[in-house]
């Protein structure tokens, strides 16, 4: 393994440039180093203007998603040596507006997340003095997988539907809606269904499953979307056939 590797990094400085260009940097390629270590080396030693997000460096904060050789990846969990002898192409995640260099604008996701009401909805709540709601490990398992989403948005970068139909509420937001729908403590499923049904985009999802493939936390958003589609069709059928039964 060569002890150095070339990064081809996408640069975009909106104040000076109208398009993305690529800049090459040679960085050490230690076996422990991840792509993010390479970027940090550039930032500290070679070029202080390189711009990207990162924080925890342990794959849980969700900040450092980028496209590495065309694939959406958490750069803190992607080893440089796996791309040896290089070069390694590092680009901002696709399907998002680029703010600068490797930093993308995620306001659209943040708005959609709020729209799906990702919180427990209940008509009444029992007082704290009565202790916890019982929830068996099996009941927990019903929604647990969908609660593992770290909002890294690799799934949006990979989603062909989101790329074409920006109105699509998207894999992570739907998975998080399902996370609450499937939680026995929640009573908000019908409210969320109303909201989700207003977005035509979901029917465009052809279950290519790219979102599930790139998810670094095995959330399986594609599975969530399929389950949602099923319950949405059932509900609209019901509405058609038995309008009095829908709250």
């Amino acid at each position: 393994m060569p002890d150095r590797i070339t990064l081809e990094v996408a640069r975009y400085r909106p104040e000076n440039e109208s398009a993305i260009s690529f800049q090459q940097y040679e960085v050490p390629c230690h076996k422990e180093w991840v792509v993010l270590d390479g970027l940090n080396y550039v930032k500290d030693q070679l070029d202080g203007t390189l711009t990207y997000r990162w924080s925890c460096r342990m794959g849980v904060c969700g900040s450092c998603g980028m496209n590495v050789n065309g694939e959406p990846k958490l750069t803190c969990a992607t080893f440089l040596a796996d791309y040896s002898p290089g070069p390694v192409r590092v680009e901002p995640m696709t399907n998002f507006p680029v703010i600068r260099d490797l930093v993308v604008e995620i306001g659209d996701f943040m708005r959609k997340l709020t729209e799906v009401k990702p919180w427990i909805v209940r008509k009444e709540e029992k007082p704290l003095s009565e202790g916890e709601y019982r929830q068996t490990p099996q009941e927990l398992d019903e929604y647990k997988q969908f609660s593992m989403c770290i909002n890294c948005l690799l799934c949006y970068a990979a989603c062909p539907v989101y790329g074409l139909e920006p109105d699509f509420i998207g894999p992570a937001a739907i998975a998080l809606a399902q996370r609450y729908n499937l939680d026995g403590r929640d009573e908000g499923a019908s409210e969320r269904l109303e909201i989700l049904s207003q977005h035509e985009g979901i029917w465009g999802c052809t279950f290519v499953g790219e979102c599930t493939k790139v998810c670094p936390k095995d959330v399986d958003p594609a599975g969530a979307i399929q389950r949602y589609k099923l319950s949405a069709s059932l509900a609209s059928l019901k509405r058609l056939l038995m309008p009095w039964s829908v709250p």
């Binding site: 990207y52 924080s55 927990l140 770290i150 609450y180």
Partner: protein, 582 residues
């Protein structure tokens, strides 16, 4: 002219666990108040996300609040304020239960009740957990729940550079919106600092890149004291090179710490006898300070394993079996596989102590109020103090809930009573700050590289303020940090762009860290005793006559650090011997 972007009743600086809990508390105390959460990262990126093992709150019939209090106080080597600890243990289970209402996926017993696990330094099973991603689930639960409060306005990716103080009251902040580079004043009737810790002053840390002591430095510069800053927790089990935390839960589930001979070395350090099953307050379930100190002694005895990233010992989970590891410690397995290329089901995990947590922080009272009117603090950024000289594992997550909520309630009451508008002095201050920040972009001809200054700070802190310290090395460190602060005036910033300028942020963070580092080494130099996480080779004993007291670090007018002391509050547990393993 620096624009006043907005005025709010309460501004939260930091959107992690403490900040979000405080924001919700403000919203629920007075729904008419306008609340701003100003965070340099999107809130769900905050470092609470990395907490793993759990959150302590006594709920089992065989447990009691007094036992939780005693464990906390003895764990903190009697430097905790006992009135604060009593309030903490009482409110912790309520807060954890409230999180259950908000949807936190706590791990459960087969019958559906909340499950609890043992933890270091705790005499009973009282640590609630969500597998080994407790902080992640708590943060996302809080963040998602906070989205339903319309009175909360978020300033995502805004970096606060200064507190605005007039007439002895904190009345707002100046912040940079990273995306646009706009510099604005956000005025407020009350400000709550919830910016977390400052692990990044050390080279080898579990802390995320964003943990630069921002809030501590903001308060310090505004005139509020920093309390007990000499007490830095080294977690005994970090992965070499990355510093990634391997949770204490791996030991509470039964993991062993062994040296190069396969020997459970903790038995040689007054921590009890090795048993096959974990024993409360014994061996691997001893407190973190004692375990990290034992590691240093093992290095001195030549009984550790050499690696390119320093000496290590081994954490052995193999006997737990794949099923327990997958259900109770899935993140440990994921981290080991992904970052160390090791499967803990079959292999030993190399670990070494790693800078993890600040017991010290912005001095607050039991309700989160600092001595500066209008300024509050909670979470790791604050020091109430419940943690004393050494925090017990799983006390920090309930702490940020209990004291985040308390600070939020008090700040809401304070803000509700004030009706005055910010005066012209405040805007003049904001304008000065804007000028300073703009100048950083102008290219001041400085030659000092950020990375170089940061490395030198790291080296100084590791050599002087590590697990063992001495008067000589601390004296040199105070000087060295002072010199670095002078050199910082010539810092070079290559990036002149206003758009998402992370280099300017890094420079400002470095300057925050230098202030915090100075407070740490100055406080450590003055404390001539050994207590909890502060071990002085030249003063190896605890000295209650001189130092049963909190240190308070104030910034002097000449920018040096002045230390004063404040007595510890003792209610029912007079200082005694810390006994583990028997």
């Amino acid at each position: 002219m620096c624009a006043v972007s907005a005025s709010h009743d309460v501004v939260l600086v930091g959107g992690g666990g403490a900040g979000l809990r405080a924001a919700i508390a403000v919203a629920e105390t007075n729904p008419r108040l306008s609340i701003a959460v100003v965070s340099k990262v999107y809130p769900m990126r905050s470092h609470t996300v990395s907490a793993e093992g759990g959150a302590a709150g006594a709920i089992r019939p065989d447990d009691s609040l007094d036992e939780h209090a005693y464990d906390t106080i003895s764990g903190g080597d009697w430097l905790s304020d006992q009135d604060a600890v009593e309030a903490f243990v009482k409110e912790a289970p309520q807060e954890l239960l409230r999180l259950e209402r908000w949807g936190c996926p706590w791990s459960r017993e087969p019958d559906g009740r909340i499950a609890v696990r043992p933890f270091g330094g705790m005499k009973k099973m009282r640590t609630w957990f969500a597998a080994d991603k407790t902080g992640f689930h708590m943060l996302h639960t809080l963040f998602q729940t906070s989205l339903k409060y319309a009175s909360v306005t978020r300033y995502d990716e805004w970096f606060v550079t200064k507190l605005l103080v007039d007439d002895g009251r904190v009345q707002g902040v100046v912040a940079i919106e990273l995306m646009s580079g706009r510099i604005e004043a956000i005025t407020a009737r009350a400000v709550i600092l919830c910016t977390g810790g400052c692990g990044r002053v050390f080279p080898f840390t579990t802390n995320a890149n964003i943990k630069n002591g921002d809030g501590m430095a903001l308060a310090y510069r505004a005139g509020a004291p920093l309390k007990d800053m000499e007490f830095v927790q080294y977690h005994p089990t970090g992965l070499p090179f990355t510093g990634i935390l391997i949770t204490e839960a791996s030991r509470s589930e039964g993991g062993y710490l062994i040296n190069k001979d396969g020997y459970r070395y903790l038995q040689d350090y007054g921590l009890g006898k090795p048993e096959a099953q974990p024993v409360f307050r014994s061996m691997e379930l001893g407190p973190r300070d004692r375990l990290s100190q034992a590691f240093v002694k093992e290095v001195e005895k030549g009984r550790t394993i050499e690696t390119p990233y320093g000496p290590v010992v081994h954490l052995d989970l193999r006997h737990l079996g794949e099923k327990i590891i997958n259900t109770k410690l899935p993140f440990v397995r994921e981290l080991c596989l992904k970052y160390q290329n090791i499967d803990p089901v079959k292999e030993l995990i190399p670990v070494r102590p790693v800078a993890h947590y600040m017991m010290g922080g912005v001095h607050t009272d039991i309700d989160g109020a600092t001595p500066l009117a209008g300024l509050y603090a909670a979470g790791e950024a604050a020091c109430v103090s419940i943690n004393g000289a050494n925090r017990l594992g799983s006390n920090s997550l309930p702490e940020l809930l209990v004291f985040g909520a308390r600070a939020g309630r008090l700040a809401a009451e304070y803000a509700s009573t004030r009706k005055d508008d910010p005066g012209p002095k405040l805007l003049a201050q904001a304008k000065d700050e804007e000028r300073r920040l703009q100048a950083l972009l102008g290219g001041n001809g400085g030659r000092e590289r950020i990375a170089t200054l940061r490395e030198e700070m790291h080296k100084t802190m590791e050599e002087s303020a590590g697990i063992y310290r001495s008067g000589d090395s601390l004296r040199q460190a105070v000087e060295a940090i002072g010199t670095l602060k002078e050199r910082f005036a010539g810092v070079a910033i290559e990036d002149h762009s206003r758009t998402f300028n992370t280099e300017r942020v890094a420079a400002l963070e470095l300057s925050f860290m230098l202030d915090v580092a100075e407070a740490i080494v100055s406080s450590a130099q003055r404390r001539e005793e050994s207590r909890g996480a502060h071990q002085r080779t030249d003063f190896p004993r605890r000295d209650d006559d001189r130092f049963l007291a909190h240190s308070l670090a104030y910034r002097s007018s000449d920018d040096s650090c002045r230390i004063e002391y404040l007595p510890v509050t003792i209610t029912r547990w007079p200082p005694g011997e810390r006994v583990y393993g028997r």
